[in-house]
């Protein structure tokens, strides 16, 4: 049975659940195989989590601040226009509008709408924190073992650079390669980033010592190679 190497997208799928990714991410963690990740994955995950947290916090709290500028009064048309303007083009817009539409029929005070937005944000941040901690705990308990590569593999890096656009992705593939080589493992590389690998899967596999690239959306934990 191959060991699993989980890349950043799988870990992020666990922290930020979305549709089927969530279920598949969880099934990855529950799979009977030994699970690995790497310090590059951990660093990228932390960087991305921090970015998302800050971005969501800033956008929502700015909106709350904007809405709270005047005297407290029932939420009216002018506030709805302001919300739409503030969030125009933002990914947060559908969520905020859904919430506002849900409460606007009973014309709540602006302060109440703001408090609801704060609760949504807090629910989000709490979940993210909890799941970041859970991943850290899994790493500490070696349930998800974190590998640190020492070799640069300059030659392999050059070959991979032809196919891999993203430096972080490249470093992570090298981590998996190094792990498989040093520990003499049969290793499946699990990723949710189908688009990054689908065109060059065979080329990449001919360069690195990875058994196969398993895409999260079709991941079957029980599959034995």
């Amino acid at each position: 049975m191959a060991d699993l190497f989980l890349d950043t997208s799988v870990l992020l799928g666990y922290i930020f659940p979305k549709d089927r990714w969530e279920k598949n991410s969880i099934s990855c963690f529950n799979a009977p195989q030994k699970k690995w990740t790497s310090s590059s994955v951990d660093a990228e995950m932390q960087k991305k989590c921090a970015y998302v947290r800050r971005k969501v916090q800033k956008d929502l709290l700015s909106l709350i601040m904007d809405l709270s500028q005047g005297k407290d009064k029932p939420l009216g048309e002018s506030e709805l226009v302001r919300i739409q303007n503030d969030l125009s083009g933002s990914k947060l817009e559908p969520m905020v509008m859904d919430l506002i539409n849900e409460i606007k029929t009973r014309t709540p005070q602006i302060s109440e709408a703001c408090q609801r937005l704060r609760e949504v944000l807090r629910g989000f941040l709490t979940y993210v924190q909890q799941h970041e901690d859970e991943l850290k705990n899994k790493m500490t308990a070696l349930e998800l073992e974190c590998w640190t590569r020492l070799d640069d593999y300059t030659d392999i890096q050059k070959k991979l650079a032809k196919y891999m656009k993203n430096d972080d992705d490249l470093e992570i593939l090298l981590d998996a390669h190094d792990l498989a080589l040093v520990r003499q493992l049969i290793l499946d590389f699990v990723t949710a980033d189908y688009d990054d690998y689908k065109y060059f899967e065979s080329e990449v596999l001919s360069i690195v010592k990875i058994n196969r690239i398993a895409f999260l959306h079709e991941f079957k934990p029980e599959r034995v190679t």
């Binding site: 930020f16 971005k55 807090r122 709490t126």
Partner: protein, 288 residues
Amino acid sequence: MSELLDFTVYHLLHEFDPENKGFMPRARFYKALYLLDDRLKKRKIDIALPWCWYKFGPQVQERFITSSVFRLSASSPDLNEKYKVYFGKEPRTKGLPEKETAAIMNEIRKMNKEHLSTDKMVELVYAKAPRKMLRTFKELEDHFKNEILGSKEISQENLTKIVNFLDDIQRNYRKDEFAEMFEEYLRFDEALRMTLDNFPSRLKDINELLMKFRELIATKASLLFNENLPEDWIKERQAGLEERLSQFRTELDAYERTVLREMAKDQHEPNKHSRMLLEIGYDLTKEA
């Protein structure tokens, strides 16, 4: 350095404390000089006072005043002892415009006769705070010091007051001027509100962050609202601000995580909209 400034500093100290007994604490000296400068400006006299707005109102930068005209010392070796300011060697008056020196002496004597207490001076200078939010931040910090830190149980009235201070700051925060710490402001404000809503008994834990954030705001204020200070001084302060802002971010992160971990203990499944936000979060990871 301005000779009129030397003249003003010496005579203010001499008038207020003629026997040099240490009746002029440093903070009182700053406020008295600032108020005097303000009155002199109205008479079109510019003494070129080097000052900036800081945590407790105007702060005079003594290092840009001729050192012989005043003396600064603590009255005991205890480091917590507040500094006092004494007059030094009388500066020469030869060559100074008589009309202006007479007007300065007149204003100094008038002010001395008013017997303004330091509290009254604080009130007068804070009425001139360049931005309302600077005053409210100070009031919030004072509220913590007076009503929160020493209390075993915090009354609802005192909790409501904190919310009112926060709302007031939120309405008056100047995004254009205090842009570099705007994100930290939003996060700090929310961290404090989360503490109020979930763990009011832990408010004391956030006091240190409050003091540090107010210091950041005050440092930025000193860069925005100052007079007669050299470019090097501005650059030095700016560099210090950036360093402290970065330290503050780390401490705010740690505090936020502690509060969120506590909140996670009582949280069940995220509600529909938090769930939507988590899905959006996944898409946003692609941007990072």
